[in-house]
């Protein structure tokens, strides 16, 4: 409860210094700075570089090297990003113009919005609510609809097939994701992410130890929802070029590319809050936030490492894996949660 007091104090101080209302400060700082877009930009820069470097290490290559040679090519993505940002945005004549341009912006905004609810440290969140666990899930659940719009508006066979795949993948993955979220909520008797973290700190046991099945399911479903190998059927380069993003160029393509990494970041942030005890060993705002951030990055590194091991699964294999093997496991995780709930809340 000390953390609670301190957290209020930090933001209150900031609010009195700047003369702005505290809710506004939270609502702006969390989605835009940390854990929102600012932190995400840094993570994306690091993670994509690390993804390429790790894959290169496994595959006996060098990876990015020439931009910032002393840092091992760490600024390669920045250079690429600057180039592609100023590239011409080509809008083909056959596309539905308004939907084509709006869809990537809208999809990325949704991901950014979901970062307003997920706490990135003790008291570091945009909004808190008694059902805050469901908000990111609901927001991320909107993205497939936007991607379907993208595929339709692009008016290309590859994008259209990609949009269909996105819907199929979401239908398969969302149920498992929701089941693992509900198992966690049931375990701690709360839908508030902050409360779930405090419960873990109070009991001293992170969620992954209590209910490893739910944690595993969450991780696998997150891989599916974010098009990570072996579940990258939506991008499916060898069949459908870039899936729903095929027709995009320039900044709009960057947004699409950032979309998957943004989703991965949001879900892994949620994972470290729900299953790894959030800011667990620490109470302070700075150290706590740093803990969550590092946990998230480690989780993302695990997710991207799978690229060097697996190929791509077929759609029907993914669907049957999620419905007939992982979904029954989700029911088992609910049973564990029911048992744990009795122990936790006498």
């Amino acid at each position: 409860m000390e953390a609670e007091g301190e957290r209020v104090m930090v933001l209150e101080q900031l609010a009195t210094q700047t003369g702005l209302p505290e809710w506004l400060l939270r609502g702006v700082l969390a989605p835009l700075v940390y854990p929102g877009l600012g932190a995400f930009a840094a993570v994306a820069l690091f993670i994509i570089w690390a993804e390429r470097k790790i894959a290169a290490k496994v595959q006996m290559r060098v990876g990015p090297l020439y931009v910032a040679r002393r840092l091992g090519g760490a600024l390669q993505l920045l250079a690429d990003g600057i180039r592609i940002t100023f590239q011409e945005i080509i809008v083909p004549v056959t596309v539905e113009k308004k939907a084509y341009v709006a869809a990537p912006i809208f999809a990325f905004a949704i991901v950014a919005a979901s970062l307003a609810v997920i706490p990135g440290g003790p008291g570091v969140y945009g909004f808190s609510s008694s059902v805050s666990l469901l908000v990111p899930f609901a927001l991320l659940g909107l993205i497939p609809i936007v991607i379907a719009v993208m595929g339709w508006a692009s008016n290309n066979k590859f994008t259209y097939i990609g949009a269909g795949r996105e819907i199929l993948v979401t239908v398969a993955g969302e149920v498992t994701l929701l089941a693992s979220l509900l198992a966690t909520a049931m375990m701690y008797g709360s839908l508030d992410i902050n409360k779930i973290v405090t419960m873990q700190i109070r009991t001293g046991i992170p969620g992954i130890v209590v209910n490893p099945i739910a944690a595993f399911l969450f991780f696998v479903a997150a891989l599916l929802m974010t098009d990570r190998i072996p579940f990258d059927v939506v991008l499916g380069e060898q069949e459908i070029v870039q899936g729903p993003y095929t027709e995009y160029t320039g900044l709009l393509f960057v947004l699409n590319m950032a979309l998957d990494y943004g989703k991965l970041y949001a879900l892994m942030l949620l994972f470290s809050d729900l299953f790894l005890g959030g800011w667990m060993p620490f109470d302070g705002v700075l150290l706590g936030s740093l803990t969550v951030f590092i946990k998230t990055i480690v989780l993302m590194l695990i997710a991207i490492f799978l690229r060097s091991v697996y190929g791509r699964m077929r759609i029907d294999q993914i669907a049957s894996m999620f419905w007939s093997r992982l979904f029954p496991l989700a029911l088992a995780s609910l049973v564990i949660s029911a048992a744990v709930h009795v122990v936790y809340t006498p």
């Binding site: 004549v93 994008t159 070029v241 190929g311």
Partner: protein, 401 residues
Amino acid sequence: MAIKLPGMYGREVGEREGYRIVELFIGPQHPASGHMRMILYLDGDVVVKVDPDIGYVHRTIEKLSETREYVRVISLIERMTIIDACNVTLPYIEAVEKLLDVEPPPRAKYLRTILCEINRIASHLYGLGLGGIFLNHSTMYMWAFGDREVFLHLANMLTGARLTHTYSVFGGVRRDLPQGFKDEFAKAKRYMLKRLKEYDKIFYNNPVIRGRLENVGVLEKEQAISLGATGPNLRASGVYYDARLIGYAAYPDLDFRPVVGKHGDALERIWVRLREIEVSLDLIERALKELPEGPIINERFTKGIPPKVRHWFEKGFIKLPGGYVRLKTRAGEVITRAEMGHGEITYYLVSNGDIKPYRLRVVTPSARNVILFTVLPVGHTLMDFPAIYGSLDYFPPEADR
């Protein structure tokens, strides 16, 4: 103002022969089409028909070879399959040798065999790498291409060129075995055998890859024979056939046994390639052990060489006489065959006694295997198409010639 372009909307479903189908054009501008175009007709996600549209890299090699002297044709036909340059030229050289009535010395035959097997390993690694990236398995892709360098290095050592080593020439080979080659090969063999075990772990026995390849694109034995499939694709279907068995170069002396599969699915085709690498390594080792001493080119071409350049021969290099470019064969026709990495290649050479071929007909293995595209993917999903493509080890420049 929007331009109305009727019929250009990609999302519109077409109708053909009574079915509502999507006509999907894969290639030539596509990450996984190769230098060709595939027209896929899809009913939902199921492929109902495939129309391989070949000819994007047709370079009129057959016609061009009629305009060049015999020896200059060698470096031309290498361009059909530069990854397999010794195997692709060897039957042509044997055809011309038959018309010249020249027999290469035994040492040259062995050296040709060694380079052919090095080429075969490199070609299989190329195919395995592409088979990996078709399933988005980038590690297999990079590993195979990285380990291919080992064999390009061996070829470089032997011939002085990484890819288009015009090594076999009429009557023999261009260079003798360099010093240290045996040690270098022993190192390469040890390394490759170790790597093959790792390939098995990360690719062949990878559950995701197995799921993608098992029972996909099954080619039955009878079907494989009647369609004229060739190479590892034929052997994976359980047919005991390999052009090396007919006995050209040094193969009759080396007790060669082909690798034969059973089921003929995509996984089996990958398996045959992996095991053939082991067989080829054994063949090279045996050839190096039994390598006979003697000249590397038929004496007919060394007779007229002035003593000034003779010292090259002591160093193991061939300095060919000027008349070699204007060799005249006797009139006649010859058919020769050989086994390339991709399958059997056939040459039909017609000569009218001139310094240039009258007609050179080439049937390359990829040209024979392209028919499998119309048969194997039918009934599978769109996602299986790259898996089948990758397992066939199809090489468009070779098919188009």
